[in-house]
Subunit: 242 residues, 2 copies
């Protein structure tokens, strides 16, 4: 039977058994929101990379390199971590190599044993839920957090997804976040703007990014790790399975 | 200026700087609830011990030894971890050595640099809040969790204490738990009975312990680590500082 659990931080992932599960990695501000946006706007694939140097070196192999540390574009990189950069098909048909402060770390740590790794964002919340309901496997929602700490936007996404799935759970994190999501979802954007990382991003004048990342269900595709690159899969036509 | 932060697990405490802070360790089911109850019922002091063997050996030094693992009394120990054992002054004037699955681990990990370590429970919530408001130092609420994972009862206690203190914070955990506490506090006991550890304890037929541990403000003393033993401090008379 499918079940649901939430891990709040890469520093807690060792407590979870990933085998046989679908892991949903989430880093709302902004890695996974950006990945979903890039794929929805025609990018061919995204290679998540843990360190800046490896990422930079991939330019020679034809990748567009995108690097962010502490919320800001890393020095010498063409792209930072703004989802807005991908709108309008600017990078259509390109392959991206991407390294971020938290999100790419979480993807790397998901690789030990998970059946599938998908990337979640509010931007494709319903599509991801529909996919998981069709698969009907046990799910672990893995919040990238902020440098190991719990963060609000990833955890509330987990609550939102849990609320849509209604899988059986014996996980206090799921109970807490589903209840918190129900309590604040009437003004989710207002509440999430109080989050520490949103406040951090506001200092960099990228409020537009925040609003964009909190948009619900703009895209109707899932983002899934295939080999070592992330690709998009569009929802099939009605009555077909994914 | 005083500030407030929450750590959800002993596995995340390395992310926090304890220096200059008062650490409030909380393990509602049941270590810190039991400690507060024992001290309120005349126990002289409690020595927290990480492992069963050390704890057992303290019997030779005149300690009453109390040991629990996975919610049950450890083999060969006189006492388990039920607060009810201490009611009625059965152990008045005695020194207790206590080892538990989660709580004593959290106390041990708090020792690196904290200004003071106190033990929190719903049983003395208001007394602890009053003490912290008088001290006006930065506070870290350290949830013992369950074997490294987030748990609901400790985290909601943190939310309840945060709600009473209203210290400035830049901590997503605090914002999440204060908001969740406000959302569920009308039926806190009903909500907390859904927590995974409460369900685990119910399997051992110790529902009475759960109800007792969720009682608010039964005792008017704080529990504080002095040297390597925990003692109780009664609230002084009005207009006196603690």
């Amino acid at each position: 039977m499918s079940s649901l659990e939430i891990c709040f931080s890469p520093d807690l992932i060792h407590l979870h058994d990933l085998r046989g599960k679908i892991v949903v990695v989430v880093d709302i501000f902004r890695a996974t929101s950006t990945m979903v946006t890039a794929l929805a706007n025609g990018v061919t694939s995204i290679k998540p990379v843990e360190d800046l140097e490896t990422c930079r070196s991939l330019a020679d192999e034809g990748y567009i390199v995108s690097g962010e540390r502490n919320g800001q574009k890393a020095e010498g990189f063409e792209l930072g971590n703004s989802p807005l950069s991908y709108l309008g098909g600017t990078f259509e048909g390109k392959r991206i190599a991407m390294t971020t402060t938290n999100g790419t770390v979480a993807i790397e740590r998901s690789k030990s044993g998970a059946d599938e790794i998908i990337l979640g964002a509010f931007l494709n919340l319903q599509a991801t839920a529909t996919y998981l309901l069709q698969k009907n496997k046990s799910v672990l929602i893995f919040c990238a957090g902020w440098k190991g700490k719990f963060n609000l936007e990833d955890s509330l996404y987990a609550g939102a997804l849990a609320s849509l799935l209604q899988f059986p759970q014996d996980c206090d994190g799921t109970l807490a976040m589903e209840t918190l999501y129900d309590a604040v979802n009437k003004d989710l954007v207002g509440f999430l703007k109080k989050a520490s990382h949103a406040k951090r991003l506001q200092n960099y004048n990228i409020e537009e990014d925040i609003d964009f990342c909190l948009t619900h269900n703009k895209y109707d595709l899932i983002a899934i790790l295939a080999g070592d690159e992330i690709i998009g899969k569009k929802k099939p036509h009605q009555n077909q399975i994914w």
